[in-house]
């Protein structure tokens, strides 16, 4: 009997160690601890081009995370991209006339939405829309514009 008791103990230890490992992975390694759906409200913004923005991309104000992109859709009437984002409820005093721009973190990094400054007395709330937006910079567009412009200048010089 004592032998099977030690065996029981070892099996118990094994199961506990395995589950502890899985828990460790879940809580320490992954973003589960910070994942818990934070309460918040949804605001939308229309961009001419949302570039490489993705669902779950960061929404930040002055470098602080204030929300997450929750949905990106295309509006075929205005050819805009409609970005819905969830702002955490503790930031319920963002002025309603802030601007939203799409930036890139680092040279090749992820794209995120940066909120600018605003001065309105009214605050962003559920379903409000951010009016002032700046689209993502598409590198190819910028380069082709630059080339086109410099070619134009040269042509004018020749005249």
């Amino acid at each position: 009997m004592s032998q099977s008791n030690t065996q029981d103990t070892l099996v118990g230890l094994f199961v506990a160690a395995g589950i502890a490992g899985l828990f460790f992975l879940a809580l320490q390694v992954s973003n589960l601890s910070s994942f818990t759906e934070q309460a918040g409200f949804t605001v939308t913004a229309r961009f001419e081009n949302s570039g490489g923005l993705k669902v779950k991309s960061l929404v930040s104000a002055a470098g602080v995370k204030v929300g997450q992109v929750s949905k990106i859709t295309f509006d075929p009437k205005t050819f805009d991209s409609v970005v819905e984002m969830r702002i955490f409820s503790q930031y319920d005093n963002i002025p309603s006339d802030v601007s939203a721009s799409i930036y890139t973190a680092g040279l090749l990094g992820e794209q995120y939405i940066g909120l600018g400054k605003g001065s309105s007395d009214e605050y962003l709330k559920q379903n409000s829309e951010i009016e002032f937006t700046n689209s993502a910079i598409i590198l190819e567009k910028a380069i082709s514009q630059f080339l086109f412009k410099s070619a134009e200048e040269k042509a004018e010089e020749k005249k």
Partner: protein, 259 residues
């Protein structure tokens, strides 16, 4: 002509074996209820399949994590991105190396032992003896081992990955001077619970299922001679390795394909 005859025979043999394997799996699963009646059988097998594999899994996990830490550091420091070492170690462990390497080790450590044990039982006619005593050898012998393997695998993978991440941290921040906070925060910011950890867990369940199935079936289907048992043991390890790596590719393509 001989060639085609041979080819046809091999093909037919392969398919009949697959069919026998499927029926075998079916009967094994049919015996699941016997576990509820006799949990002690399962416990004994959890000991020999799971507990005894712990040491090799833990040590391998530690060294794999440490090597990942070293190699990752050398590569990432070229780009000035040593801080993402934690992410690299954890992502490769949780997504791929954890499930795959522990499944391969498991096939070598526990799978071969299962095949040899059952093959010898068949060769020494213990299985027929049980049938003579009206004890169903599938319920009594096979099903507990199958369930033990299936349940042990995810636990072993959890152990492997967790120890690997700690090993990577030991080398990364202990030896090479990566900031410890950056190691963990980069990891936590970028490893997703559902996309990475749950998918790795699903992989480990699939591998546990397939390795236990192959090992038990090869043992049960063995030619009852000493040579037959030795061949069956080899086949277990080889076929398990093939199935693990092949399935891993398919699972990865399915899970991480559309992001």
């Amino acid at each position: 002509m001989d060639f085609f005859q041979h080819l046809g025979k091999e093909t037919r043999g392969g398919f009949t074996k697959l069919g026998r394997g499927t029926f075998f799996l079916f009967y094994t699963l049919k015996g699941l209820f016997s576990i509820v009646v006799r949990p002690r059988l399962l416990l004994n097998q959890m000991y020999s399949v799971g507990v005894l594999s712990c040491l090799i899994i833990a040590i391998s996990g530690l060294f794999v994590g440490m090597v990942l830490g070293l190699q990752g550091y050398y590569i990432l420091s070229d780009f000035g991105a040593e801080e993402t070492l934690g992410l690299m170690v954890a992502a490769s462990l949780v997504r791929e190396l954890g499930p795959v390497v522990s499944a391969l080790l498991f096939a070598g450590r526990a799978g071969s032992a299962l095949t040899a044990e059952i093959g010898l039982m068949k060769a020494t006619e213990q299985l027929s003896g049980m049938e003579m005593m009206a004890v169903d050898p599938i319920k009594r012998i096979i099903t507990p081992r199958f369930v033990a393997g299936f349940l042990s695998m995810p636990l072993l993978v959890g152990l492997f990955s967790a120890i690997g991440v700690l090993g990577g941290q030991m080398v990364g921040s202990g030896m090479l001077g990566v900031d410890e906070g950056a190691y963990w925060s980069q990891m936590q910011a970028n490893i997703d619970f559902y996309d990475d950890i749950v998918n790795g867990f699903i992989k480990s369940l699939v591998f546990g299922f397939i390795v236990s199935w192959i090992a038990l079936f090869e043992g049960y289907d063995t030619v009852p001679t000493s040579e037959g048992v030795s061949r069956a043991t080899t086949r277990t390890v080889v076929n398990s390795a093939f199935s693990i790596l092949g399935l891993d590719f398919i699972l990865t393509a399915l899970m991480f394909g559309d992001d």
